[in-house]
């Protein structure tokens, strides 16, 4: 390996690391607010990339149909669950958010997709299709389990992942896609040729991190989310609607996932099931950082990205093994560093 290759690998690693950082930070966010270890975050990324690809091809993306399916399922289940307790206002929101919005988006996509309106439209439409999925998934799967233990929520999360991957195959098919970069072209930097898209990925990642910081530190809603994370009961007692903080967290997760997907689509080929591995690598980063610090998670994600790209060079077949095995030493260190036992949540 010479210096150029090393630099090239580093560039690759940093770009992937930036994507993992977005995943990792989202996982920390969702875990903090809802205690859900949100394994399916990767699915949002894969679906966003697949949606952009479909729009580029001028076809209706599977996500448009999926959103409608999710909306109908959520509304139907909520009617069954709540029955007579439903208020007019609630029904109106459900009609608007769960049914009219997905149906409207679907019609818009059917009308607009063949016109191939270009990058900005594709990105905006992808965000519009994916963001509502976050709160819908939360209401469908996790809200009824809000009182359950972390373990039960984790198992549910894995169940959601399982269902979503299956749905992904149905709605997107098995073919892989690669999208056109948002930023085309390259520029030379010493011995390297750097893609503008790579710079774009880094800039967006940093902007998202800053945005999250501003949201949690400066806005009332962000503070409410943090309060819920610290103590659900306490937050409820001071009038924070705890269920809606969960929905907001999931909307944020879907939004960040969609952004990551739009970015990553042109860097690597994405299949309906690519999200899992991307998501898990973000996870490795979040675990290294102990599932609670945003900056540490971002740093750990860079480390994972670099490790992956160098191990891809030295031992490509064992790339995944190496990446997933680094959590072992991290867990050992955490285990040694951990003090006396903490009491975990009571039985589920």
């Amino acid at each position: 390996m010479n210096g150029t290759i090393a630099l090239f690998l580093a560039q690759d690693g940093i770009i992937n690391g930036a994507i993992y950082a977005l995943v990792g930070v989202t996982l920390v966010l969702v875990f903090a607010v809802t205690r859900v270890i949100f394994v399916p975050q990767g699915e949002f990324i894969a679906w966003a990339a697949l949606t952009v690809a479909a729009l580029e091809a001028g076809t209706v993306p599977g996500t448009a149909w999926l959103l409608l399916v999710l909306g109908i399922a959520t509304a139907a289940l909520e009617v069954v669950r709540e029955g007579r307790r439903l208020t007019i206002r609630r029904v109106a929101t459900m009609l608007g958010f769960d049914l009219a919005l997905p149906a409207g988006l679907l019609l818009a996509v059917i009308w607009l997709a063949p016109l191939k309106l270009g990058l900005a439209f594709n990105a905006a439409m992808t965000l519009a299709l994916l963001i509502p999925m976050g709160p819908l998934l939360y209401r469908l799967a996790f809200q009824p389990l809000a009182d359950a233990s972390v373990l039960v929520l984790l198992i549910a999360s894995i169940g959601v992942h399982f269902a979503l991957v299956g749905l992904g195959l149905v709605f997107f098919g098995a073919e892989g896609v690669r999208t056109t970069p948002l930023l085309s072209g390259t520029f030379p930097a010493g011995p390297l040729v750097v893609k503008w898209q790579s710079i774009g990925v880094l800039v967006v990642t940093v902007l998202v991190l800053i945005g999250l910081y501003a949201f949690f530190e400066r806005t009332m809603m962000g503070k409410a989310l943090r309060a819920t994370a610290v103590n659900r009961l306490g937050a409820r007692l001071v009038g924070i609607p705890v269920a809606s903080t969960g929905r907001i967290a999931f909307a944020l997760a879907a939004a960040i996932g969609a952004v990551s997907g739009i970015l990553i689509g042109s860097l690597t080929t994405i299949y309906y099931d690519s999200g899992f591995l991307i998501g898990l690598k973000g996870f490795v980063a979040a675990i290294i950082a102990g599932l609670h610090s945003y900056p540490l998670t971002a740093l750990a994600a860079l480390l994972v990205g670099l490790l992956e790209s160098y191990s891809a060079f030295f031992a490509s077949a064992f790339k995944e093994v190496i990446v997933f095995s680094i959590i072992l030493p991290v867990l050992i260190w955490r285990s040694l560093a951990s003090g006396p036992h903490h009491d975990e949540d009571e039985e589920a």
Partner: protein, 592 residues
């Protein structure tokens, strides 16, 4: 028919039904094959039931343990020519060691690190075995020998059915024996949080490790069988998706019940087969529809029936007979009570700081043998922090705590329990689903020895009887003799507090530490509690209690220590405390 016989009847019927199933003429070969796969999955699911439903942990990597067992046997039979029977110990040893490694790393960490570690392990396994040349990469190893008995090869589905289901039967029996034993109760106590279990001497990290390794061994056993039933191995059946399916089996069947694992394995295996056959025909295209159905099923079960489906079947079966208590079982060894009046516990300038806050400020006092000492103070006085220093939940910043002259500050809760100090909790920590008797028997954990293997093989019955007899005796002593077999969660709060005292007494302590024992009790219950504590004192017990109820403390104790803002402001007899001006000022506000 006796209750015992009646409760055994369904099991005998079930075993007979399974035994004759392949012999019924007209049963298609395919059904028998499917039944074989159900058996293999059951082994894995039983392990997960113990891990998830009983121990409160989980694993997504069980499929990888199955793969480890399968590959071990595949390599040993094809490369080294060993007979399939001879490879069993190796298959178990290799999976056991692997589980031990992962378990040691994660067992001490809080709940969700173990499952996350197992996801990483499951994925690593898949890519590792798929890339090793000697293991045939993703194609795997084929041409494995079948099991054979006396020269006859067990190749047909009907022939291998019996080794598989005999293994399942053995796994069920061993697992149920384990749960119904000293170590089993320790594992079940994990669900109530680790602090309570540790306070009675349970090494919770070890208990978690034991159950994790045991679950992995069952998976390894399934893998060993699978290798020689399928007669080929490749990485794909051992990937993370298979791991998730095994977990679904445990969750669906009933994650707290051993037999629930078999039920879950049956439903998932049959459903998967049906879905793979029917759905593509129905919808017209290929795809892994079963994963959609399984995913939704998993979430639905958790939302609608978190205990899984087995409880619904259990409700139809005759109630299992109550445990028999052999009152004539020899008593457990008994500790010498300390001399009355001799210093037993001495706290010397104990101090605890949280950052800049001094929660306990150089507090010193002594508890003498045979006394009831009360620790009182307004809210925020540092009583609970001090209590936590004494019980090993928190470490002191400085100062010493000595018990019978030996330093115990900084000792973990488990070692403090070994010294003969037992405690109760301000917020009751009983495992709601276990019977009162079993909860209390955990208190005697340190007074008996039986380990995992002897429990599984039922070599522990002598000691088990002594343990249960002791638990029953202590429950009678505190007046709960009529509630032995009820689930602890069904008792009233006051009774649960008393049951905690019985559990503490099972430790055979010389010193009893009670954290707000009268909180939330009604007047009558308080009277009974005071009576009980007085009787214990008369029997030579030394008691230190933290309490809010002044009336209760004044009438019961021999000596009172008053804390205000972390500092001891007074100590003395109840009469002296009642007239102490500083105490009155702290409680009632000063006279301006």
């Amino acid at each position: 028919m006796s209750a015992r016989l009646k409760s055994w009847l369904p099991r005998v019927v079930a075993i007979l039904a399974i035994a004759i199933f392949p012999l019924i003429p007209g049963v298609p070969e395919f059904w028998v094959t499917l039944a074989g796969y159900i058996g293999l999955s059951s082994l894995v699911a039983i392990g997960l039931v113990l891990l998830t439903g009983v121990g409160g942990m989980t694993s997504f990597g069980q499929a990888a343990f199955v793969g480890f067992g399968a590959y071990t046997s595949a390599v040993l039979t094809t490369k080294f020519g060993l007979s399939p029977w001879a490879t069993l110990p190796f298959a178990l040893l290799s999976t056991g060691l692997m589980a031990l490694l992962i378990g040691v790393v994660t067992a001490k960490l809080s709940g969700h690190y173990l499952p996350l570690g197992t996801i990483a392990w499951g994925i690593s396994f898949f890519y590792m075995f798929g890339n090793i040349e000697a293991l045939g990469r993703y194609d795997g190893i084929s041409g494995l020998p079948a099991f054979s008995i006396g020269g006859t090869s067990l190749i047909s589905a009907r022939a291998v059915f019996y080794p598989i289901w005999i293994s399942v039967l053995i796994a069920v029996v061993l697992s149920e024996n384990l749960l119904d034993s000293r170590m089993g109760r320790a594992v079940r106590a994990l669900r109530g949080g680790s602090v309570a279990a540790e306070s009675f001497g349970v090494d919770t990290a070890r208990a978690k490790l034991v159950i994790f390794v045991y679950a992995a061994l069952l998976a390894g056993l399934a893998g060993w069988l699978y290798a020689h039933v399928q007669r080929s191995v490749s990485p794909s059946p051992f990937g993370i998706n298979a791991g998730i399916e095994y977990l679904l089996m445990a969750v669906l069947g009933g994650s707290g019940y051993v037999v629930g694992g078999v039920l879950g394995a049956t439903i998932v295996t049959v459903l998967k087969d049906q879905l793979q056959n029917i759905l593509p025909k129905l919808i017209g295209t290929g795809g892994n529809f079963e994963s959609i159905v399984f995913g939704i099923l998993m979430v639905a079960v958790l939302q609608l029936a978190r205990q899984g489906l087995w409880p619904f079947i259990l409700a139809l079966l005759p109630r299992p007979a109550d445990k028999t208590i052999n009152a004539s079982a020899p008593a457990l060894s008994h500790r010498q009570a300390p001399d009355r009046g001799a210093p037993l516990l001495s706290v010397d300038k104990a101090r605890k700081e949280f950052g800049g806050l001094v929660a306990v400020n150089d507090v010193s006092f002594t508890v003498k043998g045979g006394e009831i000492v009360g620790l009182i103070g307004p809210n925020g006085a540092g009583k609970s922090t001090l209590f936590n220093l004494l019980t090993g939940v928190l470490g002191a910043t400085s100062g010493e705590v000595r018990y019978r002259g030996e330093r115990i500050d900084g000792m973990p809760a488990r070692d403090i329990a070994k010294q003969g100090i037992a405690r109760t909790f301000q917020h009751v920590k009983l495992v709601a689903s276990m019977s009162v008797l079993e909860n209390v028997a955990i208190g005697a954990h340190l007074r008996t020895r039986p380990g995992v293997v002897s429990s599984m093989l039922r070599l522990d019955r002598g000691e088990e009887a002594r343990m249960l007899a002791e638990a029953a005796r202590q429950l009678q002593r505190v007046g709960l003799g009529e509630h032995l077999h009820k689930p602890a969660g069904s008792l009233a709060l006051g009774q649960q507090r008393i049951a905690e005292i019985a559990r503490a007494l099972c430790l055979d302590p010389a010193l009893l530490l009670l954290d707000e024992p009268a909180a939330g009790l009604r007047f009558n219950e308080k009277q009974q509690l005071a009576g009980l504590l007085s009787r214990l004192r008369a029997d030579g017990m030394t008691i230190l209690l933290v309490e809010h109820d002044m009336d209760f403390v004044m009438r019961l104790t021999d000596h009172i220590v008053v804390l205000v803002f972390g500092t001891k402001i007074a100590e003395g007899t109840p009469a002296a405390i009642a007239t102490n001006p500083q105490v009155l000022e702290a409680y009632l506000g000063g006279v301006e």
